[in-house]
């Protein structure tokens, strides 16, 4: 369409995007945070949020046992209440993909995708060969989704085409086996203008999802950053007719945070994006808070953490 694959045309395309005014974007996000979501709409939002959670463990101390227990939680977040939906996906390092896939298949979670972080997550500082192998390994192990990181160093030094081509290469490896989520690490891109440019760059290069953060860098999925990314997918849809998903990750810990995210989606990209196919929330602690709030709504009294499982 507007881009022929050259560095020059990519730069031109990205610099022609409208700028983002930081104060205005912050104000819009803050205004949407005042939406008051009560009763029936809250119940709907909690279940929607649960079904969008990419239940994540990305620790050096991860073990097969830990991953298996997370899988159990993913399939049946609240073993005492089977009306609670399963989560959107399990998100792990690539050496845990096999374990996660096998466990999910075993316990009735066949439909729950396994996402693997890849391309030398979280820093992305490795040769392209390593990144390719990292991805190939994960896909071979049965990953349904690849959460790759972009080369922020290359982006910030203006080597946009390098970032672009890397995404294309990883996309090629994913093929039709795995969806590609591209992590921008917005905390390192710093400005909203960069977030918008990186979002479009990733979408042009073939991302199925654009994702805010690794969860290892703060700030992560702030409301205005998610707002800017939701505007990007909305505008990309207007341009191309293709719907790209958005995944905020990092810092979303409470039901309130999650509902604010859903309001952002609803009033920015629109309610067509209110599906786990197009919106995910990368989190670990969030799920338990959603479950407690769900109990509160159902029973009418405040819940205790003793009634939700730790995993």
């Amino acid at each position: 369409m507007m881009f022929d694959g050259s560095q020059a045309s990519l730069r031109k395309f990205l610099s022609d995007l409208p700028p983002v005014d930081q104060v205005g974007a912050d104000a819009r996000a803050a205004m949407l945070a005042t939406r008051s979501i009560k009763t029936s709409s809250k119940a709907w939002a909690i279940d929607m949020a649960i079904s969008m959670v990419d239940l994540t463990t990305l620790e050096g101390a991860d073990t097969p046992g830990k991953v298996k227990s997370l899988c159990a939680k993913a399939v049946r977040p609240d073993p005492t209440d089977l009306t609670v939906p399963s989560v959107g996906a399990i998100c792990v390092y690539n050496d845990m993909v096999k374990t996660a896939r096998a466990e999910l298949d075993l316990i009735g979670g066949k439909s729950i995708p396994v996402a693997a972080v890849a391309t030398a997550f979280p820093s992305g500082r490795a040769s392209i060969e390593v990144k390719k192998l990292d991805t190939q390994n994960a896909v071979d192990a049965g990953a349904n989704e690849i959460d790759m990181v972009i080369d922020r160093g290359a982006f910030l030094s203006g080597k946009l085409i390098q970032v672009f081509e890397e995404i294309q290469i990883i996309k090629h490896i994913c093929g039709d086996k795995a969806h590609l989520k591209v992590i921008l690490e917005t905390g390192e891109l710093v400005t909203y203008d960069n977030v918008r440019k990186a979002s479009f760059l990733a979408m042009l290069a073939g991302a199925d999802f654009i994702k805010t953060s690794t969860g290892k860098v703060a700030p992560a999925a702030t409301a205005p950053v998610v707002l800017v990314m939701l505007e990007a997918v909305r505008d990309y849809f207007t341009m191309t007719g293709k719907k790209i998903g958005v995944k905020p990750a990092g810092g979303i810990r409470t039901t309130k945070d999650a509902i604010k995210q859903l309001v952002l989606v609803n009033e920015t990209a629109g309610d067509q994006w209110l599906t786990p196919d197009l919106f995910r929330i990368g989190a670990s602690a969030l799920l338990n808070d959603l479950l407690m709030q769900r109990m509160k709504l159902r029973t009418g009294h405040y819940a205790s953490a003793n009634y939700v499982t730790i995993d």
Partner: protein, 280 residues
Amino acid sequence: MSRIDVNKTYKLFIGGTFPRSESGRVYEVKAANKKFLANPALASRKDLRDAVVAAKSAQAGWASATAFNRGQILYRIAEMMQGRADQFTEEIVALEGVTNKVAKLQIEEAIDTWVWYSGWCDKLSTYAGSQNQVAGPFYNFTTPEPLGVVAIFAESKPSLLGAVRTLAPVMAGGNTAVLIASENFPLPAITLGEVLSTSDVPAGVVNILSGKTSELYPWIGSHMEIDGVDVAGLSKRQEDELKLVGADNLKRISRFSTANHPERILSFMEQKTIWHPIGI
């Protein structure tokens, strides 16, 4: 036989030129000793209309001149007046019936008034503007800007100083002016036009009409292109009437009690406040 003097024809000053009244009318001005002095033009409402057109079209240019440049021009007026001190002395002595010494004092004060307002031109936003500490990520500042076209009824006496101390502040603020000379003591104000025309003042920035105050003030009050009025030369009754009709376009109408004061400038300026976000 002694030489016959060549007397000056006192004309209007409109858009940088010196026309007669379109009406062809003049009126007689007598000296303090009742002798004939001159037949200055008796401006009509059409002359007023032309003067306002000239002032309006000169407005944007004068307002956008740098304050430094405006200050230089006001100072140049002082220089030119100094050079014409003798001529003004003669006029004032004849017209007001004062001594040479008194007339000279008036001229000196008028010259010093130009110098004083010249120095104000580039200090107005420092003195009367502000940067405002609003509660939010915004840069916010207020700065005075010219009002537009200001009509001035010059004070009668002192005849020169009364014109200068009303005109200089209006010009210093970046406005263009239509000055109505004192009906009974108009000559120094008219001669002032000659000074202005040789002082780098752009055409139309100042326009000077002589004539009957009582005939002109209702038209000034109702003229929708006039933004402000200094009513120094009007009676209280005339001022009240001018305010009544001036309400139609909410003219800024003032009368001042002190001689030189920055408020004389600022009363014919608007304060503009500008907001801009601070972000990356």
